[in-house]
Structure formats: C-alpha cells, structure tokens
C-alpha cells in the first residue's frame, strides 16, 4: 500500500491516528477470525478434529487492515491514492489465485466498495457528506418516491393483474410472482405490528405456521375445503395471537422481542414433536389444492359429478391455469391486507398504534389502554399471517416444520425494516430486493445470507429508518401538500 503514503498537502494528516484506527480494526478481525475461520472442525475417519487455517486468518486480518486504512484515508481527504490502490487490490485479487473462493470474493468486493467510496468522495470534492446531508438527500428520494407512489401504486397493481398474460410470463415467472406476493403479504401483515404499533415481533412465522397447519389438518381430518378453511385458519391464527398476546404484551421492548422469538420456536418444536397429530418432521402431504371457488376443479379428468375448470370455461386444459389462479388468489389476499392497513391507519385504532410506537407513556396519560391496542395489532397481524399460511399450504400441497424456521421470521422482519417501518410501498421494494434478487441470481444463492447481512448493515449505517421512511399524516386540517413540499418545508425550517 505504498500508493497511499501521505503526500504533501495543506490539510495535515494524522497518520499515527489513522494507523492506530486500522490496527484496532485488524485486532478485532483477528479476535473474530481466529476462532471462526482459523480453527475449523473436520470429520476425519468419523472423528472430529480441529484443522488450523492460520493462513486465511492472516489474509483476513491484512485485508481488514488495508480496508480500514483505505476508509480512514478517504475520510481524511485522500481519496485519489485510495482509489488507485483499491482498484489495484481488487483487480489483482480477481486474477491472482487466492487460497479460497470466499477470500477472493471478499478481496474483490472489498476493493470495489472502497474504490466506489473513494470515487464518490472524489466526485463530490469533499471527502464525505455530513450524515445530516446524506440523510436529507435520502429523505428527498423517499419523499419523491412517496409522491410518485400515488401513481406507481395503481400502475404496479395493473401490472400485477396483467402479469400472467404478458408474453414473457411463463410458469417460472408466475411462480416467482406468487413467491413475491406471499412475502409482500407477510410483510404487510407484520408491518401492522412492527411498523405501525412499534412492537418488535421476532416470531411472526409462528402464525404463518398456525395458518398452514390449520388448513392442512382441517382438510386431512375433516375434509374441509380450502374456501372454508381460509377464514378458519385466519381465525385460529388470530386466536393464537391473542393467547400469546395476553401474557406477553405487558413486556416491553427487548423482553417482548425475546418472548416472541421463543414462541416462534415453540410452535415449530411442537409441530416436530407432536408426531401423531402433525406428522412430525415428515410434515403433511397431499394437502388438497384449491378449487375454483368450490365450483370447479383444476384437473384434466375430473371425477364423475365434478366440474373441471377447462370444461366450465370451455378452454383447453393446461396445468398453468391452476398456477395463474393461485397467483390471483394471493394477489387478492395481499391487496386485501394492503387496503385494510391503509384504511385502519386512518381510524382511531390505527392512530393509537402509531402513537404507541411514538410514545407509550404519553398514550397511557391520554387514557389509552395499551394492552388492548397491542392485542388488536397482534391478533390482526396474526390473522393475516394465518391467511398467508393456508395459502402456502394449498399452493405447496406439502408442509413440514422446516418451512417455518426462525430465518423466515427474520426475512419478513428484514423486509419491513428495510422498507421503512410502516411504509406499504417500502415493503414491496424490500421484497423485490430481499426475495426477488436472490431468485434471479440462483447460482449465487450460497452468498445470499452474506449479501443479506451486508445489506442490513449498510441500511443501518446509512438509512436507519428504512429505505422509504416518509410518513404522510392520516388527516389534514389544511390543503394536502406533496411529500416533496413537506420535505422542502421541514428543511427550510431546520
């Protein structure tokens, strides 16, 4: 890294401090990498032995040191040498043979990120934007998006409705559409608890599981149809939300989060262990597919006395008809959740949720019964989770406890937080990022969690309130102003 040696500048550079900072980062990297990377357990002749990987630790520490040095120098107003050096590092890492693939990836990506950062700093002539300025710029983007979303919203809905009939929409596309819509629906459901009421729920997937198993079991034991089970599944999920809510909602903040986390795991473990009833880890298969509103089935050769969809409409049979029907089903369910939320936000209970998120002590002082309000949020969100769950069951035809692990809760929560707490459009954007992108780059799916983690860290650093965090008031006394005007005004005031 000779290229970043301090030159003669007007602005003095405290090289000692910069080196110290980098060394500290390297030390932390050493402490973390030593047990995580340096000592790896391997299975030799069915015995676990520890294999040292100290070369990788050393490389990791050096990379962290250089990376931090680059960041620090950029900050101190020396972006040009950093840009050159980091590009050199990234390029050489790309062509040189490094011991392992992840190492190569980290070196290339790290070099590229630092180069990007340095390039940005060069372009804007001062090394970093102040945090407030950056925040303001992002707010402006958020506000512009909010304004645009009045247009984009309907366009997106029209697009979603038309999607199955667009020329490029083959079975895979519609399948991805179903997947995305499922997560959007879950995100919108969880948004009620997390985004509006401000309760950190780490076990939302439990209600998804309750919904899925409700349908699967009711169908298995009583032969109930999907259309009967859908409301029942919502009801049961909502009841389980109430049951959990009663003891738990008195807890605050972190305690609440931990108990919901426990509840999510509890449901999964019950599902695994209650073998006779739930099928345990084998799950339940042969879950009936939905009929066309109980009128007709999606089968080529219906049993006698049963109408089939293609006969009903007099079209050729095609297996995609059911997929498209499922697509519209989840689209309607998701939009229902969206409209419900938009509507309830303007009602006393919705306003109380947001007030609770802002300041629960003040809520109490105004005579609001916090427990009831939270219970309502919790059970309504649980109901939507239950709907989504029974949809999932009927779509897959097979469910097992594996589908309802903590990581699902984490992904749904990430969607809500990433999108901007309480923002409906934010959930859609975040779902496209979190679910859509990895689906498109399937080959890279092993790096999915890595990218996910990096993404979350970056968001927390740059945009702690989420991508689209603009909030429109639910009621106005004066004429409506666009989000951009509001943003402009609040900047003028500041």
């Amino acid at each position: 890294m000779t290229a970043v040696a301090p030159g003669v500048r007007a602005h003095t550079l405290d090289i000692a401090a910069v080196l110290k900072e980098s060394a500290l980062a390297a030390l932390v990297a050493l402490l973390l990498a030593f047990p995580l990377v340096g000592l790896r357990t391997v299975d030799v002749l069915s015995r676990l032995t520890i294999e040292p990987h100290f070369a990788e630790v050393a490389v990791a520490v050096v990379l962290v040191f250089l990376g931090r040095l680059g960041m620090a120098l950029t900050r101190e107003g020396r972006p040009l040498p950093v840009l050159v050096a980091s590009l050199v590092v990234a390029a050489s890492a790309w062509f040189l043979p490094l011991p392992t693939m992840p190492l190569k990836l980290i070196a290339v990506a790290g070099g590229a990120i630092i180069a990007l950062r340095a390039a940005l700093a060069l372009r804007s002539h001062h090394s970093t934007l102040s945090l407030a300025e950056r925040e303001r710029r992002m707010d402006r983007v958020g506000a512009r998006f909010q304004d645009a979303s009045r247009l984009i919203g309907p366009i997106a809905v029209i697009f979603a409705v038309a999607l199955p009939f667009l020329p490029f929409a083959d079975r895979a596309v519609v399948d991805i559409g179903i997947l995305l819509l499922t997560y959007i629906m879950l995100g919108w459901g969880l948004n009620i608890v997390v985004g509006l009421a401000g309760l950190l729920d780490l076990g939302y997937v439990a209600f998804y599981a309750v919904g899925a198993y409700s349908y699967a079991l009711l169908a298995q034991y009583f032969g109930f149809s999907f259309w009967l089970c859908l409301p029942l599944a919502g009801l049961l999920a909502s009841l389980s939300g109430l049951l959990l809510g009663f003891p738990v909602l008195r807890l605050r903040g972190d305690y609440f989060a931990i108990v919901t986390l426990g509840f999510g795991e509890m449901i999964r473990i019950i599902l695994i262990n209650w073998y006779d009833f739930t099928g345990g880890p084998n799950g339940i298969s042969g879950i009936p597919r939905p009929s066309f509103f109980g009128i007709a089935d999606f089968v080529r050769n219906p049993e006698p006395g049963v109408l089939s969809f293609h006969e009903l409409f007099g079209v050729e049979y095609s297996s995609i008809q059911r997929i498209i029907f499922l697509y519209y089903l989840i689209l309607v369910l998701a939009l229902f959740v969206n409209f419900f939320t938009l509507r309830i936000r303007k009602l006393p209970i919705g306003r109380a949720w947001e007030a609770l998120r802002e300041d629960d002590v003040a809520c109490t002082a105004l005579g609001i019964n916090r427990t009831n309000i939270k219970l309502a949020a919790f059970s309504i969100a649980a109901m939507f989770g239950g709907f989504a769950g029974s949809f999932f069951a009927t779509r897959q035809g097979f469910i097992s406890p594996e589908s309802f692990s903590f990581i699902e809760s984490a992904i749904i929560l990430a969607i809500v937080v990433l999108g901007g707490m309480g923002s409906q459009a934010g959930v859609v954007v975040a779902t496209l990022l979190v679910i859509g992108l990895p689906e498109m780059f399937r080959e890279l799916s092993q790096y999915r969690m890595l990218a996910f983690g990096i993404g979350m860290v970056l968001i927390m650093l740059w945009r702690p309130r989420g991508l689209l965090a603009h909030r429109d008031p639910t009621i106005l006394l004066h004429k409506r102003k666009s989000a951009m005007q509001q943003q402009q005004e609040s900047e003028d005031r500041a």
């Binding site: 306003r351 947001e354 802002e358 003040a362 609001i368 909030r471 500041a494």
Partner: protein, 286 residues
C-alpha cells in the same frame, strides 16, 4: 350578576408517601385542590413534585396515601391510588403533561390532538368496525373531534402548523401543543409539570393567560408544578410548597410568600446566588 358558586374540593391528597427503596421521595403530604382553581406545587429540585404527579396519574403506586378525585354528583368519588394509569385519564378525567415533553413527534400536530380523543372516537367507530365501513356515525364523530382540536389549536396559536410533524415544532410550541393535547381529553383536572420551563418571558405571559382561560372558561381544576414565580404568584389561587418530600407550607400566594419556612427553603437552595435576590424573585412575582 350571579355570584359564582363557591369552589368545591376536586382532588384530596391525604398522607401521600412514596418510597423508593430507602429513599423517601414524598412523605406524608396532604393537600386539597379545588375545582375551578389553580393550585401550584412549588419547591426546590428533587423536592418530590413530579413524584406527586406520578402517583396522582397512576405511573407510581403510592406506598401510603389516599387520593380522592371528586366528581359531579351523582357520580361517586374515585380513589386514584387503586386505578390503573390509563383509567385515571379515562375515568377520573385527570390529564397531565410531562416535565420533559412527550409528544408523538413523528405524527402531525392535528394527529396528536385526535389521538387524545381516542376513547371517544373508539366508541363512535364501533371499535373500528363502523369506521372500517365508513359509516356516517363515525364520520360525524371524527368531524367533531377535528372541531375540538381546531378550537384548542386556535387557542394555543398552532392552527397554521396543524399539519406539521409535531417533532419539528419549536420548543415553546411543543409545550403549548402538549397542553392543548391534554385539554382534548376534556379533563376535570389538568396537571402541568413545569409548563413554563424553557419559555421566554412573552411565552410565559401567554401561558399564564391560557391557564387562567382554562380555569375561568372551562371551569376545571388545574394543578401546576412551576419554578417560574412570575407565573405561579400571579395566577395561582393556592400554593403548596414541598421540600425534601415534605409539605412545608400551604396557602394563598400572599401567605406563602411571607412564610419564614418557605423563605428559608428558597434561601437554602440558592446559596450560590445572593440571597436577597432570591427572596425578591419569590416576592416580586405578583
């Protein structure tokens, strides 16, 4: 001209004691706040004033004591020490503000005022069902709520900024909004914890006007913790003085001002200042 009816007791505090472990924050405090009067609670920092408020409004459960809130007959009195905090606001109609302002700062000014009318609107919206379907009952109730909000925003001069985010208001405006929001709950007793803190003299004078307006026009009781003697001495009907958790004086502003115990307490607190000045401040408010 009719003679205004004699004020009746609104809140009776008897033997209120609040202990935190070994610390006795409030000890054997008794006083009565009258309806349609402004009762001030003054005293040096740490005297236990805020603790008294927290006991009254249910945020703390008093160690000992009876807190009786009288209501218009035929309604029976309520014992506040037995009620949950939200019920004290809802049923006993005691509203409060906080020493460190607590607004819903991400919500608009108007929304703050509407949230304060939650219970009323909740009933009108049929616990949200009528609201979900947009029935006229609810729309009417919401319009009435906005009218009430408009009335108070007008009073505290915030009507122009009604659609601002509450957190973006300047400090003085936030204080006024908190009072207006408390009034939206249509309280029988309004408890204000240092509402003049951080206000400039003009704003303090406006505050005095607002409080007398609330007392005289809305005919409710006001309980006021305040350090600003120019406010306390001009508008209160009755002053209670606390020191180290004990009540050391109780009476009209004129009586309290000349009470040797009070003068001693205030001299003791402000030793660094020249004592005569402190006395003057205490005396010169009126």
């Amino acid at each position: 001209m009719t003679v205004p009816p004699k004020p009746t007791p609104l809140l009776e505090v008897e033997h209120l004691t609040m202990r935190f472990g070994g610390l006795i924050a409030v000890s054997e405090v008794s006083f009565t706040a009258m309806d349609r009067e402004i009762t001030a609670i003054i005293g040096p920092n740490g005297a236990g004033k805020t603790t008294v408020f927290n006991c009254l409004t249910g945020f703390y459960t008093p160690t000992v004591g009876r807190l009786t809130m009288h209501r218009k007959p035929p309604k029976t009195p309520l014992y506040l020490e037995r009620l949950e905090a939200y019920r004290i606001a809802h049923k006993a109609r005691v509203a409060r503000t906080f020493q460190n302002i607590r607004l819903f700062s991400g919500m608009s000014v108007l929304e703050n005022m509407i949230v304060a009318q939650h219970n009323k609107l909740m009933r009108a919206s049929g616990f949200s069902l009528a609201g979900l379907f947009g029935l006229p009952v609810y729309r009417r109730a919401e319009r009435a709520a906005v009218d009430l909000a408009r009335y108070w925003l007008d009073r505290v001069n915030l009507i122009d900024v009604a659609d601002w985010q509450a957190g973006n208001l300047p400090y003085g405006a936030q204080r006024r909004l908190e009072i207006a929001r408390a009034m939206c709950t249509e309280p029988a007793l309004l408890c204000l914890d240092e509402p003049a803190a951080g206000l400039n003299p003009r704003e303090s004078a406006e505050l005095s006007d607002l409080l007398t307006f609330i007392r005289d026009e809305h005919k409710i009781g006001v309980l006021l913790i305040e350090h600003d003697m120019s406010v306390v001495m001009t508008i209160s009907d009755h002053v209670v003085v606390l020191e180290y958790g004990r009540k050391i004086s109780d009476g009209t502003p004129a009586e309290v001002r000349v009470d040797p115990a009070v003068i001693r307490a205030y001299l003791g607190e402000e030793e660094e200042e020249t004592p005569p000045e402190a006395v003057q401040r205490l005396a010169g408010g009126a």
